[in-house]
Amino acid sequence: MKAVPLSYIVRNLWVRRVTTMLTALGMALVVYVFSTVLMMSEGIRATLVATGQSDNVVVLRKGAGAEINSGIDRAQAGVVHSLPGIAADALGRRLVSSEPVALNNLPKRGSGKPSNVTVRGASEVGLELRPQVRLAQGRMFRPGTSEIVTGRAIADGFAGAGLGETLRFGGREWTVVGVLDAGRSGFDSEIWGDSEQMMQAFRREAFSSIVFRLVDAGDFERTRAAIESDPRLTLEAKPEIRFYAEQSEALATFISILGSVLSVIFSIGAIVGAMITMFAAVAQRVGEIGTLRALGFRRGAVLVAFLAEALVLSLVGGVAGLAAASLMQTVNISTTNFQTFSELAFRFTMTPVIAAWTLLFALCMGLLGGFIPAWRAARLSIVDCLRAA
């Protein structure tokens, strides 16, 4: 079977530029929404996945779910610190860190609207446990002082959190002596200070979480069993990666479900647009269709030609929408993660999988919009067509 040449198809779109453009614009906008939403939920996932280390373990109070709900007293912390299987660094220190975590309500830079920021009591070992965290500016806080370091997103986004500025909470002034670059992980949205100083300032008697590194990540099950079977401990242990993945789950799922539902509803509009355009294309070219058939092109070839026209149209819209969505990668946004009740900064993240899904989505719209008109074009009889012309 001879196929209608592709140049005929493309030129038809070009002849009716305004209509093609308007239809493609509608599709591009739908594709843009679809793609940005996927990028948003991927961004949240990527940020929190990057926060966890594969051989780190997080210990929380049983059933707490998030660090702020948890409480681990010093006696329990002591038991965890002495567990076997914890790795040591070059200086022979055990890589285990007990950390108080508090939420601090701070005003944003510019708008002055308050949001909850995670404040973590850390230590040198705590820093060593997170190799992705580096100092971008200034220096580390000195133990035993009211000095703090802030994550990059916090330093940029909140009033008084930049290098050299001071923040007031817990009844004293804290000087920001450094800014952390946490490699786009969740720690970019945290404030770190000396663990013991934080405990005093927040009048805490209990830590929130304990993080430690295993000598061998394969030992996790044994370590978990040791913690959960110890009657002195009412704690649960999780691999750090899974812990942070769970923290991102609800928000990422919420956004992707909301976004997908919206995209599907919106796509009805775009499909209708494509259908109108293709019906008009068929109606205008009845004579041409008859000529094509008279020249020997089969019904199938005509069907394919019009379907291909709709697909090319949707591809133009899809690529335009995708291009606009990729520009969003430069935008940083932050919102409150419901699960941790604290601010989380992230970036729209484009991946090849998202790009592929987006284009597939666009082509589906073209297929759905173009099929019925193409079918109708193929069903026309030669004689009627030629008479109409």
């Binding site: 239809t23 059933g63 508090a102 355009t277 019906f279």
Partner: protein, 388 residues
């Protein structure tokens, strides 16, 4: 009248095209309304707040508590007419999906400050008498099929363990925006259970999440807030007092990025359908060039052609808009059901209806603008030539 009949006839000439355009419009207008309703639902707590209530919380953040002995000191502040307190419980009913708000409150003072929670006298007395009792809003009770006397087990996340409450009453909201999806129980039960638990953190005993302060005159809100905060400045737990509205707004502003995104998206759908509609009108105009030229020959001015096109566009847009608006109500009902307890109130507001109609109008006008301008300028001779 003649013009209207002409418009109607014109609109129905390409039935399939008009129907498709209408479908697009209906989808767009109802989606626009639905998204606006979703944003409104976020603000429901703000709308339901009273101007005569202040909220005092720990200045650090909500996750920090205040000592119980602040109660007497706040009550003594000039201008304060009532005082109660509440703790966020954060319990899970069977699974995390069944999310709803639970507060441990001081029952008699709390119900006095919230007259919009309407309870029968018998149920109120039963609740006040039973320390393990609880009351819930009507919607919540309907959702889980609870009846008075049922046992409700909650798994604590902030307060560990399984907590079981006996349902003593179901309250109705006095207004449409009253939150009917809460569970209230005795604060005394909470704090005493915490005290008895082995290894209880002493910070959780006699600790109050927020104080709700009733004031007689809403105009004094700022002054009284300041008085309360000055009272506790430089103490172990500094306070931050704000109006209930500001307190509720601070929750909304936390998810501002998402809200802005939803609002942007609700405008995008309008633009999408504008493109579809403009396309329809452009094609319609292109097909009728010869007709318009004939009308001009007969002596009709360019303004008539503009009226014909704009009128047809508006007619279709408004028809789609009205159907979309009508459909918004059942759709909002379905979505409200589907999101369950996530949003306490899910109702289409009057402003949304007006904006939907306005959006339909704008779509109609914008879609006709370009073809109408072109057709009014078309030169008669070349227009007529298109027939041949």
């Amino acid at each position: 009248m003649l013009l209207l009949r002409l418009l109607l006839k014109n609109a129905l000439r390409h039935k399939l095209r008009t129907v498709l355009t209408l479908i697009g419009l209906v989808v767009a207008i109802s989606a626009f309304g639905l998204l606006r309703t979703l944003v409104d639902a976020w603000y429901a707590g703000v709308e339901a707040s009273a101007s005569t209530r202040l909220v005092t919380r720990n200045a650090i953040s909500l996750t920090f508590t205040l000592p119980l002995n602040y109660a007497e000191r706040i009550r003594a502040v000039e201008g304060v007419s009532g005082l109660s307190w509440a703790n966020w419980f954060g319990g899970v009913y069977i699974t995390e999906r069944n999310f709803f708000a639970q507060f441990a409150v001081d029952p008699s003072t709390y119900l006095a400050l919230y007259p919009e929670y309407v309870l029968s006298d018998a149920e109120r007395q039963a609740f006040l008498r039973d320390r393990q009792g609880a009351v819930v809003g009507r919607k919540l009770a309907d959702k889980f099929g609870w009846r008075v006397g049922d046992q409700i087990p909650l798994r604590g996340t902030i307060y560990p363990g399984i907590w079981t409450f006996t349902l003593r009453g179901i309250y109705d909201g006095a207004g449409a925006n009253t939150d009917e999806q809460q569970l209230l129980f005795h604060w005394k039960y909470l704090t005493e259970s915490v005290r008895q638990r082995p290894g209880a953190a002493s910070s959780k005993v006699d600790a109050v999440g927020i104080y709700v302060v009733g004031i007689a005159d809403a105009n004094n809100a700022a002054l009284i807030s300041q008085r309360i905060d000055t009272l506790f400045r430089n103490s172990l737990a500094e306070t931050l007092t704000e109006t209930e509205k500001a307190f509720q707004l601070s929750f909304v502003s936390m998810s501002e990025a998402i809200l802005v995104a939803i609002q942007a998206v609700s405008l995008i759908i309008v633009v999408i359908i504008m493109a579809v509609m403009a396309n329809t009108m452009t094609m319609t105009a292109r097909e009728r060039v010869a007709e318009y030229a004939t009308l001009r020959v007969l002596g009709f001015g360019p303004a008539f052609v503009v009226r014909l096109l704009a009128g047809e566009s508006l007619l279709i847009a408004l028809a789609g808009g009205v159907i979309g608006i009508v459909l918004t109500f059942p759709l909002a009902g379905v979505v409200g059901q589907a999101t369950g307890t996530l949003f306490p109130v899910f109702q289409v507001s009057d402003l949304t209806l007006v904006l939907q109609l306005l959006a339909a109008l704008v779509i109609g006008v914008v879609a006709a603008a370009w073809p109408a301008w072109r057709m009014s300028r078309v030169d008669i001779v070349s227009g007529l030539r298109q027939v041949a």
